[in-house]
Subunit: 248 residues, 2 copies
């Protein structure tokens, strides 16, 4: 019988400000949840990471370009679209006020991951971390320092998908675990068919964490226990390389 996977929500974090020691706050939350165990993966919402990293922009300081005004249409905020364009290397699709773009990290997502934030006052938006893999690695180091256990860390966000309704949480940053599980040459779950695929295990872990993080308010992180994904991967590996991309 394969071992269980457990997802344990981490609650009780305060409202976060730039410069807060998120690693310490997560370590304390892990302690309240019974402590970290070797092999655990800590999943933390991108928005929490972005807040402590100061990735917040006040819209009243943004002057929209003509292109931002055009893409915002009648229903959007041209200043917010301007921030989205600054975070993007390419607009993939747009239907005012919706913009789907490729971020500097290579992620294709709605609004370049830029979210409105009521918490920071009306008129502020939160951007993705500059380097979410580095954010994950720094949190892993801090958690190891404070708890004696170096967990895997995933920085997660909710992304829409082409052709499917609804978002699923995926990994924007990864440290201390393999992001992809290479099944090429192995047997599938039914036990008989040879696989030809790689599994985006970090995305599945992020999605599993959302099942707990989305159940209640103010659960910005979770421990996922019992997954087997040894290695040292990066979320950057989850970005489809252009030579393999059938949807450029």
């Amino acid at each position: 019988m394969p071992a269980d996977v457990r997802v344990i929500g981490l609650a009780g974090l305060p409202e976060l400000e730039e410069g807060d020691d998120l690693g310490r706050l997560l370590a304390e939350a892990c302690g309240r949840a019974g402590g970290l165990e070797p092999g655990d993966v800590v999943v933390v919402a991108q928005k929490a990471v972005s807040k402590v990293e100061g990735r917040v922009v006040r819209l009243d300081e943004v002057v929209p370009s003509p292109r931002a005004v055009e893409l915002a249409g009648d229903d959007g905020d041209p200043r917010q679209v301007e921030v989205i364009l600054r975070e993007s290397v390419e607009v993939v699709r747009s239907r005012p006020p919706l913009v789907i773009s490729r971020t500097r990290h290579g992620f294709v997502c709605a609004s370049a991951g830029v979210d409105a934030s009521n918490a920071k006052g009306p008129g502020t938006v939160i951007l993705l971390p500059l380097d979410p893999d580095a954010s994950a690695a720094a949190l892993r180091d801090r958690l190891a320092e404070l708890t004696g256990v170096a967990p895997g860390v995933i920085v997660s966000d909710s992304f829409g998908r082409a052709w499917r309704q609804g978002t699923t949480d995926v990994a924007l940053g990864v440290a201390g675990l393999a992001a992809l599980r290479d099944l090429r040459g192995s047997r599938d779950a039914v036990g008989y068919e040879l696989q030809s695929t790689m599994i985006a295990v970090a995305d599945e872990i992020a999605g599993a964490a959302e099942l707990v993080m989305g159940k209640a308010a103010n659960v910005p992180a979770a421990i996922v226990r019992g997954v087997e994904s040894p290695g040292e991967g990066l979320a950057a590996e989850l970005v489809m390389p252009s030579e393999r991309d059938l949807f450029p």
Copy 2:
């Protein structure tokens, strides 16, 4: 503290044949895993469902069309591509021998979900169930009859994604739970931002189950316990309606 989510692998199912009582086999596996509890979701691999439903084709009985020969290129099997084309309403992208198409159900995926199956002998392929939502509903009814608990049921498969490497397991069939969680107007996991999205919770549950199903051979199903997704959804709702589709 939010309640945990647990994922429990269901092992020990025999090699499946057309006409097998998959519901009974799953009920027995659930019994060995300690039994079903109210609110549980049973996730079962599409391939298991397709086998008992007889969705297996012998390639030596398939005559490929000229289009199948063309799309197969030098490296593909034109008979397998012919089966893929028969399962498809539209070819979305192709790069021989890779075909990404829209199935009759509306799913956009590689090979219309058609997999080679060594288990059924070389030269056989397994198709998606004709109506995976109906398959899920029938399994739910059978599990309720045999165990006294009517679990949610998800029929899952591994799908690739545009722009991201690796597959994640998603829901092809859903019964006894909401496929989408509507967050519009609610607060997010950080507790402060108003949401504007729907969460594809059935896809996240399928992905969480894969974390256990993919860890060992011959674990074609799992119980996911502790998710909250009350309602009566269908995987058909996870197909992006054409009027909202920015990637037709």
